[in-house]
Assembly symmetry: C2
Homo-oligomer: 332 residues x 2
DNA sequence: ATGAAAGCGCTAACAC
DNA sequence: GTGTTAGCGCTTTCAT
């Protein structure tokens, strides 16, 4: 690998002059510019970004933390972030946490180590205080997440309202026995807490019962959804729910899968409400009624906010496009 | 930010001793170990990976190039690669090319600049010679891709054979007028060339006709598939194909979508063969008959091969799990 | 306008 | 076992 030294030697100039050329410093004579260009071409030289970063500390990399890239919600979110980041010449380093606190810390440490210059967290595992403390090293933006009692900038949709509307939609369609899935646990703060609040609000408002048999915690995958359905249909008919509000289309598809296999009819035997409006949910055996998340806007605004923060500038998040909407199809 | 110097000063030791501790050098007295630990905690010290990389040149980052992370084939492939990379403590830097040669070059340049220590290319755009030349800087492994006339290690499945079997399957099911989709163009080398060869071989063997109206080039997305279907059903009935072999489930879903919308029946009006066996293809309105790709094995073997190359060791790819298999469902 | 020289934070001989 | 020292490739004063 040719270094700046080699270029300087070949062009018969000092290292500093070459460095200035590289950094587009004004006032370098045309003659020397040409000599440098030639030397660089001859030696096939590329600056070592490692050395540049070491010295100047201004890298151009942002990190994204997602729980699982195979979840289309996240892959589309990453896609949106990357498209926006590219505009400002940032590269993107993606890491999956698999809900593992340790992996999250590894990424946060990269902030400290200047591997990344900012981080968008689309999933959070560790304690709010711990995460907050890392802001000392570089900006962090929470995307589609919210942390209480600490101050970390975020861009979010109104998950409480979205869920509230979704449940209300179900009730108005005359479903009264509503099962509910959440990725978290009901007790602990975090994961889906706001959605659960929206769920409760709608139920209370419509004076409907809660039944602990209808609440499913820590469900994430299609397989989890499948297992939830299995449990539901094992319930005696009189206490079996007539609709299920899932926390993602992936989970909803698991429920659907079980019902198809057992020859149950959607929505007659059980209505299914998805969440995310993922691609292909309109072409399923029963097209899914679901809640659309504004992924594009979420990714774009988070990125704009983060890059502004990196450049120590202000940015007002445009909230106009961050609305959740119900997509009505056949499963409800 | 505290540096190794600060730690040394605080612990009242030399920089080297601290460095040795950091690098798990044997034989450091327990007393000093403790002093170093305390100093590190007190100063909240983390080594700068930039400096470490500059000095030792042994970063721990591998790059992955995919065309679009939103394509489940790639997100699952990335997932498999990441899981394997983690075992050897490598982090993973993902970049999307969007079939853009320029983005690809940007990633290749990162090889030069030591940002990444190896690259897995799950998609290739530029000229074989250009890509080959970058091996000078760090190892490159092609995953699910093949380049002629140059020598770049790769791990692949037999796409020709897979397609040949797929088309033969169609013919044996008594479909004789087979439409064919490819991501590339028929003339130029690259993109789907081997699959096209498999297609041709099966047709010739079974003495079936080619019709240029049945060939669709440069189709990638669900929307492309939708448009292909539209064209097919505009054809006069006597020259309309009775089956379509698509190049991905995404495309197949587009075809399905159009047919549902227009009230055509799958497979009676047109049989659809997918490619990839993506999640949820079994729960579609018409469950998709498709070709399963061994994504797990592809990712795992590519990563093992790349890391071996980085460490200048030999590795023999385990080909036993790299087989394409037909998944028979309802669309054929 | 250009060059010399002092580091950035770390590792790795080499010496003791 | 531990300290001293010379860089890694680059940027950035400070001279000239």
């Amino acid at each position: 690998m040719a270094t700046i030294k080699d270029v300087a030697k070949t062009a018969n100039l000092s290292i500093s002059t070459v460095s200035r050329y590289l950094n587009k410093h004004p006032y370098i004579s045309e003659d020397k510019k040409k000599r440098i260009k030639e030397a660089m071409k001859k030696l096939n030289y590329t600056p070592s970004s490692i050395a540049t970063q070491l010295r100047s500390k201004k890298g151009k990399m942002i990190g994204i933390l997602v729980s699982r890239i195979t979840n289309p919600f996240f892959s589309y979110l990453v896609d949106a972030i990357e498209k926006q980041a590219k505009i400002d010449n940032y590269n993107v380093l993606i890491m999956q946490t698999y809900d593992d606190k340790y992996a999250e810390i590894k990424m946060l440490e990269m902030l400290k180590q200047h591997v990344i210059n900012g981080l968008i967290m689309c999933s959070v595992e560790g304690s709010p205080q711990m995460i907050e403390s890392y802001q000392e090293f570089a900006p962090i933006v929470l995307c589609n997440e919210q942390l209480e009692q600490v101050s970390i900038p975020n861009v979010i949709t109104d998950q409480l309202e979205g869920t509230y509307q979704g449940i209300k939609f179900l009730i108005e369609k005359n479903y009264k026995k509503i099962a509910y899935c959440t990725g978290g646990t009901l007790n602990i703060e975090g994961h889906g807490k706001l959605r659960t609040e929206g769920f409760e609000r709608a139920l209370i408002e419509k004076k409907l019962d809660f039944k602990k048999e209808w609440i499913f915690q820590e469900v994430h995958t299609t397989k989890d959804g499948y297992d939830v359905a299995k449990k539901i249909f094992k319930l005696p008919k009189n206490i079996r729910p007539d609709a299920i509000f899932t926390n993602s289309d992936e989970v909803a598809i698991g429920v659907l899968e079980y019902m198809i296999k057992q020859n149950f009819i959607v929505p007659d035997d059980l209505a299914i409400m998805g969440f995310d409006n993922q691609p292909f949910t309109s072409v399923l055996a029963t097209p899914l009624t679901t809640i659309n998340q504004p992924i594009e806007a979420l990714g774009k605004e988070s990125t704009k906010l983060l890059i502004s923060l990196i450049n120590k500038k202000l940015y007002n998040v445009d909230k106009s496009k961050l609305k959740l909407t119900i997509i009505q199809r056949k499963s409800v």
